[in-house]
Amino acid sequence: MTDPVAAVEIEGVTKRFGEVVAVDNIDLAIGDGEFFALLGPSGCGKTTTLRMIAGLDLPTEGSLRIFGEEVGMAPPDRRPVNTVFQAYALFPHMTVRQNIEFGLRMRGIKNPELRQRVAEATGMVRLAGMEERRPDQLSGGQQQRVALARALVNQPKVLLLDEPLGALDLKLRQEMQQELKALQREVGITFVFVTHDQEEALAMSERIGVMSEGRLLQVGTPREIYDRPASRFVADFIGRTNILEASVESASTVRLDNGALIEAETSTPEGSRVAVSLRPERVRLQPRGTTAAEGSSLDGEVRDITYLGHAVVYEVAAGPVSIEVRVEGEVGEPFAAGDEVTVAWDRGAAAVVAD
């Protein structure tokens, strides 16, 4: 980061639970006011990373700073961060109001400031009028809002969210995605959220950190992560993709294992083994013989057609490899199984990823 002071700065942090390395030497800087997602499959260390920022787990090695202040070993009550827990962790024996007040009371904040800040927070998450209810009298979405208000009322410098939408059904989840984004813009603080849902990460965050097996594989904007994955894992984990084995021929060409030479920018040295990631929606299907002026293409035969309503997915066999082609917004199906076709794509659609 070029920012003078990052909101969260993680340097060489490792977390071991006995023999198991949950987080393996990661470096990460999250900017002030950023909406940042930690994305990865379960067990990749993303939640442990979040818990270390919150102070619920302590790093085995490394340094962790929040706005320049070293907090790696500080207990959670000494950090300017608050957490929205996965299943909300609302206190069942307290009302909504008592839940929201809890953090303020623990810090000795008294009326009238207490009352005013609670009112602000309940208003912000549209919970006014529900203050005297208990958590089990609320719907999942409302519980989520209480958890948000309970954290935000403390005016943390960083809000941590652990799979905040995981417990909601699809429709509510999409609604809450928009609401969370709006809320983050409103309060203007850094949001760090953990999710295993790549669509959620792409839709919500300004930057994404992809994790796997305790390591941070790539950090970038959703577009960078999707279009220029840094590794085979990232390419495969984010969205659907075709992975073609290849070796580097020159700085602008790679040779696929089936012999075809295609255009693709790469900084990997000549002769290295690489993989080429081709997004199904970035490739076209053409009748055999109509080669495009620029870009690359592969000849093949349509094997299978899957109708998805808003899109049609063709499975094309090109020699030993199978390529998925996704066509959207086309009327009818111009190709049938068994047709000889050419799969073509523009220069730049193919991304070379290291192994």
Partner: protein
């Protein structure tokens, strides 16, 4: 229940079972009814009805030995309940949360007082007190069996019962609630005081109620470790029965019965209130 579909039972079988149920019922409750009935007997002869009278209740409550025994029982029950609630909850928390040297051994042995026969426990405690007194007396004081040894013994078995009940409650406890409290600036103690304790309180209270009942009820262990002037009510009843049943004993027993029924009804009412509260929340 009338709504249940009965399968494969003939009418005669059903009638037979109903009769049998009444026999069992009578077996359980007729002795109690007899006891209560004769406690109101005006006659001094236990098994001959001489008209209704509350005289034996008055007689019992005027008897200094009996009122003293009642007092001892209540003091012992109260002290042992409070102490075992605190210690039993502490043990349950330690076993649930911490990994320490000897944890597994403690985990296995903490329940022993529940399964050990009362008589073994009684002999064991008596021997323990005798040895301990010998040791302490060598430094000067002359300790004897009395109300404190009875209370200590009751604490010794009550801890186990409280511990079992509280651990069952802790099993369902969601630890992220404590993390949430820590995240919201609560210190370790505040977290325990505001979150953990209120949420396991039903278990602690249930354990305490159990301890209270067991303490008020105990004969064998108390009889062994009691000393002069510190006889508990059950021990008094047991020792006087050897001199024959008197209507006075009937009256005392009825009083004890009433007290324990009141305790059970109280705890049931408590549970029902909690249950209906949570039912209400489900409807909403």
């Amino acid at each position: 229940m009338s709504g249940v579909v009965e399968v494969g039972l003939g009418r005669r079988t059903r009638r037979g079972l109903a009769v049998w149920a009444w026999v069992v019922f009578a077996f359980l409750y007729v002795p109690i009814a007899v006891l209560v009935f004769f406690s109101f007997n005006a006659s001094a002869r236990v098994n001959i009805w001489g008209g209704f009278s509350l005289g034996w209740y008055g007689e019992a409550l005027r008897n200094d030995v009996i009122t003293s025994a009642i007092r001892v029982s209540l003091i012992v029950a109260l002290i042992s309940t409070v102490v075992s609630m605190v210690l039993g909850t502490a043990v349950a928390l330690a076993l649930d949360r911490y990994r320490f040297r000897g944890r597994r051994a403690l985990d296995g042995t903490v329940y022993l007082p529940i399964v050990i026969p009362d008589i073994t426990m009684a002999v064991m405690l008596l021997v323990f007190f005798a040895e301990a007194f010998k040791l302490i007396d060598s430094f000067g004081p002359r300790l004897t069996l009395g109300i404190s040894t009875v209370a200590l013994s009751h604490i010794a078995f009550n801890i186990s019962f409280v511990c079992v009940v509280v651990r069952a409650r802790l099993d369902q406890f969601d630890r992220t609630l404590e993390e949430a409290a820590r995240d919201l600036y609560a210190t370790g103690w505040q977290t325990f005081r505001r979150i953990t304790l209120p949420l396991i309180m039903p278990g602690v209270a249930a354990g305490g109620l159990l301890a209270l009942t067991l303490s008020l009820d105990d004969v064998v262990i108390s009889a062994f470790v009691t000393g002069p002037g510190s006889t508990t009510l059950p021990v008094y009843v047991f020792s006087s029965i050897r001199r024959g049943v008197t209507p006075e004993l009937n009256a005392i027993s009825t009083l004890m019965l009433t007290a324990s029924i009141a305790l059970v009804l109280g705890s049931l009412a408590l549970q029902r209130r909690r249950a209906s509260a949570s039912q209400q929340t489900q409807i909403l």
